[in-house]
Symmetry: C2
Subunit: 207 residues, 2 copies
DNA sequence: CTACGATACCCCCAAAAGGGGGTTTTTATC
DNA sequence: GATAAAAACCCCCTTTTGGGGGTATCGTAG
């Protein structure tokens, strides 16, 4: 049928893609025209597949799904990206949507939500699974959001650099690094570096 | 058919379980007699389902799959547990096998490996997917393995307690805590607390 | 029976982090 | 053109960590 929504799946969990393909093909409204298990594999065929919807995982083996989403939207603005991941952290959802995704599904969502999501984004709309919808509606204060510089500092701290080493690395005064550090402790409500690093990783604030 | 292997799936990713059920039922050698999306849900019916093989995820929403594996093996020693997860860390694999699992599959393994794994453990054997097999064969020095006490200390450090606070909590001298801390830095090859916490979380050494 | 790992303890001293206060400049938004 | 947020900088002082040494006890596997 010509009205079939063409879908491509990019996910390295082969067991999931197999099952998902069956689910979508069996729906009658959409058909899987391609499956890739890495961003590189997807790049090779995406121009040929020309899907309406790209079901994209965040945790790809080669590059981040976050970056790949941006890449796809730049090269093929007509393709609607629907994120499909295990991550339910604000930081990931926000970055994915900022990078051009039209929808966001968590892998423990119902099968029906996948089909609903595909139809919604194929029609040019947006779709968020229930859990993510609630997440984004929470008051602003509950969401941790850092500036570029803060994320950079946080990453270097988590790598074990001292204030002095960080200062040398990015050509700033050690006193400046100290200020950022104090501010990060405040923002993330951490009493010391140990907790700071734990929260940074748990909330996926660093790559 | 009487010779069919009876399988129960426990995983909160509904999309994966749907697909997996189709895959197993379609194999001709095994059949899914039950699906649960949490440990609690599984407990209710496990005695009734009486499966030969339990496909078990580590990241369940209610309790850890690690603990649930031990629980199942205690109550139903005849059920062969086959772990099916995204985790490829030594610590998780080792704990799962220590808790009685007969096999370990990573979710990005091939679909064929799932069927091979089910047949192997149903026959009373063991099964490790290729990746995990390689992981366990690496020289001992490459594997980080901590004592009970060290894991306890590591957890408290990651929670942000200082040496003094930890000492008060577990009734030891602050000097003792300091020694453990220095030893942990050595063992995990971390130059400071920030790196220590990062490695602890990445290698899944703490709960 | 001895050798080893795990547990628990101690001292000294230097380096780093944390808590409290600040200032200035740029850049974007209204 | 005001307002606000981000970025960069500075000083004082205390607490905590890290690096370097140690010692003693207990249990268990060779």
């Amino acid at each position: 049928m010509d009205s079939m929504i063409k879908v491509v799946i990019v996910d390295d969990h082969k067991i999931l893609t197999e099952g998902l393909k069956g689910l979508i093909d069996g729906s009658g409204s959409a058909i899987v025209v391609g499956v890739a298990h890495s961003a590189a594999e997807c790049r090779l065929s995406l121009g040929f597949w020309k899907p309406d919807v790209l079901l994209l995982d965040v945790g790809l083996p080669d590059i981040s799904g976050l970056d790949f989403c941006k890449e796809v939207k730049t090269q093929f603005p007509a393709i609607n990206v629907l994120a499909l991941t295990t991550h339910d952290e604000y930081s990931i959802v926000r970055q994915m949507l900022d990078n051009g995704a039209s929808g966001y599904l968590i892998k423990n969502a119902m099968a029906e939500e996948v089909l609903a999501g595909i139809q919604a984004v194929a029609a040019g709309g947006t779709f968020l699974c229930h859990e993510v919808d609630l997440l984004l509606k929470r008051p602003r204060e509950k969401h941790i959001w850092l500036t570029e510089r803060e994320r950079e500092l946080l990453k270097l701290i988590a790598e074990g650099l001292t204030n002095g080493e960080i200062a040398d690395r990015i050509f700033l005064s050690p006193e400046t690094i100290k200020s950022y550090r104090k501010n990060l402790l405040l923002k993330l409500d951490a009493k010391n570096t140990a907790v700071l690093v734990r929260i940074a990783i748990e909330q996926k604030l660093i790559g």
